[in-house]
């Protein structure tokens, strides 16, 4: 049966970018549909009625939402170039760090970006503490997945472009030489063709996040 794979995303979403990487790493042909989230398509609303968000993967007409769920689905459906290792303990570890990225690190960084005063300081402290955990996990490894990228690398990918953009726009200093393993990792990651050629345009990202930053920090 002819495979039909569609990816609903936006030009900038780091969550959608994960799916792009996974599909391309496995050499899967797909159609990418960039949504305008201020004017969501009827199809998106139909495919993800619970959250109405991107990314959504549609495989032969069947929709899957939530990037971590999509990544596991892709790995189980297309076996070439596995994203998750075979060993159950290593799989659990990869899933643990993927969850840490999305439940702890992203939230603390977003708070540091959007909040002010004491809340911002606390969010910065939390972010640095969280980055330290990730640095320790990575120590001595080229990628979280070992010699090749895996689930955790894909999920932490936003550290490679989105975090530096946050830093550039806000002046916050987070991912610097306090975290040498992470810095080295972002370089290795960014060298991979699938990553290098898919980063959203830098200038466009700066404009977008500058505008967002100003919304959260109105000039008085």
């Amino acid at each position: 049966m002819a495979e039909q794979v569609k990816l609903f995303k936006t030009w900038s979403t780091p969550f959608g970018l994960r799916i792009t990487w996974a599909l391309q790493l496995k050499g899967i042909s797909y159609e990418a549909i960039d949504e305008d989230l201020s004017n969501k398509s009827a199809l998106l609303l139909q495919y993800n009625p619970v959250y109405k968000k991107v990314p959504v993967l549609v495989h032969n007409g069947k929709p899957i939402s939530e990037s971590l769920v999509i990544l596991e689905y892709i790995d189980e459906t297309w076996k070439q170039n596995p994203i998750l290792p075979e060993d159950p303990l290593e799989r659990a570890n990869a899933r643990f760090w993927a969850k840490f990225s999305d439940e702890k690190l992203i939230l603390s960084v977003w708070s540091a970006f959007t909040k002010e005063g004491k809340e911002r300081e606390e969010a910065m402290d939390a972010s640095l503490k969280n980055l330290k955990f990730v640095e320790e996990e990575l120590k001595g490894k080229k990628f979280f997945g070992g010699e090749k990228i895996g689930l955790a690398d894909i999920v932490f990918g936003w550290l490679g472009n989105l975090l530096p953009i946050f830093e550039e726009v806000s002046g916050l200093k987070l991912l610097d030489d306090r975290f040498p393993s992470l810095l080295a990792w972002t370089k290795e990651l960014s060298e991979l063709p699938v990553v290098k050629y898919n980063w959203p345009p830098h200038d466009k990202m700066i404009i977008k996040y500058q505008a967002l930053y100003e919304k959260f920090h109105p000039v008085k």
Partner: protein
């Protein structure tokens, strides 16, 4: 088959997340040692086994530690893969659906559940209860689709989504008690009502469910402590 000294669960009796790990082990007939943690004074073992989150449940297996309840359940499924029943469906799309709804439970629904207990003021509590009911209505719908006439979300046997939702059943009873309203009942959620009964009385579940009165007392203490702490 693992020796019981090989497998340990660090837990806390009121925690629904700990229940998930225990139910999964029971389903796979894995013997284990259960260690009740005092979360007010965490053991060295807990702090060493889960240094990032310092939370329960933690599964200790052959010298390794695994944290985060749904990750533990998947680990149990994968290690004891030859033991029936399968916790996740075999079809990748059905697995994705189970994972999606389990993630919804943890990312969205659990916060509403927690808010019904800890919210300050009637407005906030009502809003939280409405969100809990919204979730239950979705689960009622999904149950019909996924169970295909069988007793559980997983079909003939308890599966991933049964575990993910079912672990909260006694807490739901506590919230029903405090709010004086029914959340799962024959009128509003007839299928969930039947499912809840089947789940709670399942041999892998019934002996580890906390007592509703004891949990209610615990809930009151938790709320008092939470409201005293500056937010």
């Amino acid at each position: 088959m693992a020796e019981s000294s090989d497998v340990k669960v660090l837990g806390s009796w009121p925690s629904p997340f700990v229940l998930r790990a225990r139910i999964a082990l029971h389903l796979k007939s894995v013997n284990y040692e259960y260690v009740e943690e005092n979360l007010e004074s965490k053991s060295e073992l807990l702090l060493k086994s889960n240094p990032v989150h310092k939370k329960v449940p933690v599964l200790l297996h052959g010298g390794n530690s695994i944290s985060e309840s749904l990750i533990i359940v998947q680990y149990i499924e994968e290690v004891w893969s030859s033991a029936a029943p399968s916790i996740l469906p075999s079809n990748p799309y059905e697995r994705a659906i189970s994972r999606f709804w389990a993630a919804y439970v943890d990312d969205k629904w659990f916060n509403a559940l927690r808010a019904t207990l800890l919210a300050e003021g009637e407005e906030a509590k009502k809003a939280a209860l409405a969100q809990v009911e919204e979730g239950l209505a979705l689960f009622e719908e999904e149950y019909e689709k996924l169970s295909k006439g069988k007793p559980f979300f997983g079909g003939d046997e308890i599966g991933y989504l049964d575990i993910a939702i079912g672990c909260f059943l006694v807490w739901i009873q506590v919230i029903e008690k405090f709010s004086e309203m029914k959340l799962i009942d024959e009128a509003n959620t007839p299928r969930l009502f039947q499912w809840a009964d089947g789940f709670s009385s399942h041999v892998a579940v019934k002996d580890v469910l906390p007592d509703v009165e004891a949990l209610a007392q615990f809930g009151l203490k938790l709320r008092a402590k939470f409201l005293k702490t500056p937010q």
